[in-house]
Amino acid sequence: MSHISPVLWQFFVKWMTNFALFPPEASTIAPQMDALIFFMVLVSLIGLTIVILLVTSFSILYHKKRHPVAVQIEGSTLLEATWTIIPLGLFLIMFVWGSLIYFRVYTPPANAMNIYVVGKQWMWKAEHPGGQHEINSLHIPVGRPIQLTLISQDVFHSFSIPAFRVKREAIPGRYTSVWFQATTPGTYHLFCTQYCGTNHSAMIGDIVVLSLADYKKWLAQSTSGASLAQNGERLFASLSCNACHNDRPDARGPNLVNVYGSKLALSSGGSVTADDAYLREAILNPSQHITQGYSPIMPTYQGQISEDGVIALVEYIKNLNSNYRVEQTLNTTDLLPEGEGKATGAKPAPAAKGAVNP
């Protein structure tokens, strides 16, 4: 080995130690996805081999030296049918199999633990329900289904975890979601895969899968003091949402207790399930989502609350199952000067000025 340049040797060793051919399988969906991938690779290899065999064997057999005069053949309907139907059948299998996986990846189970992820140029911000924030990393427990609710604050981003075989774009203006259940503790790559501007390639991070005990430890260490819902509650009060959304008989807005997950009748006819996406829309574009029996007087909060703020509000409303706290905070707003939270008539209440961050 002495005649190999030491620099080259160093590179060689480095490459070999870092060399990878196949990503780790660290989620429940990964082996299922890989099964389909292996099936496809197998089919592809067979197909490619057939083509290569045909071409090379014909090239040898019917080389001009060996076969000077070509035999004119029109074609063969039987053969045409064969290579139409067999690939079609195989492709259809892949279609069905693939769709099953697709629906599995994008249909979170009901018991999944929800984590919000906001993408912005050029970082990922994860918000845990307990109020833990993380930048460019995500700590999750092993063996529990985790649902990510993704949104982007600016351009399209894409949240990709190759080891889990999942990926979902975070798009501006709408929640998207994806779920997974990690199977092996460890640290995995997180990439932004949708081109998002200058530092696209720096929008990377780590997915840290912890055992349940470690996860609990991490949660305790990383708490910021207030849970997401508590932040939301603060925001709810400071934006005077509770001025209308309370349980008083003269309330001008619907009571939000236990609204999450319920089925709402809309004033425009039709009904909708109050999920995260609906709550977000109802805060930002209220007039399109008026509950039956209420007039469209709610101001829009578009451009006044950051995506983090909306998430906190959504999380608050999600967890709102008694009016006690609403009343509590309402009593403080009652002390506000006249008109601030008690405007009457059809005139919309003035929106809170400036963006409010939790």
Binding site: T107, K263, S271, V272, T273, D275, A277
Partner: protein
């Protein structure tokens, strides 16, 4: 060498000339259609409003295509071309809507 007059004759025969009377009738129909669509817009018909408006517009457009643009008297190829345009247009609209319409599915 003398195939030119022959072709000319063939050309005349194939190239139907629509009489001004037909044009007059069409323009009258178009103006009536315009009037109708304006009136229809002022009557409340619920979901029927856009359907009626578009229906009248489609009829008017068809008249223009068939007579002003001579498609009624044209070759199959021209008709096919118009059809292809319509088909692709509907593909664009229909397939895009396939996404938008079904977005809310499974969420109720």
């Amino acid at each position: 060498m003398n195939d030119h007059p022959e072709h000319q004759a063939h050309h005349e025969e194939e190239h139907h000339i629509v009489s001004p009377k037909v044009y007059l009738a069409i323009v009258a129909a178009l103006l009536v259609g315009t009037g109708l669509t304006v009136i229809a817009a002022q009557i409340e018909m619920g979901v029927l409003n856009p359907i009626v408006a578009l229906g009248i517009a489609v009829i008017k457009a068809t008249l223009v295509v068939l007579f002003f643009m001579h498609v009624k008297y044209s070759t199959k190829l021209t008709k096919l071309t118009v059809g292809a345009g319509l088909f692709t247009f509907l593909a664009l609209i229909g397939m895009t809507l396939a996404d938008y319409i079904s977005r809310a599915w499974g969420r109720w």
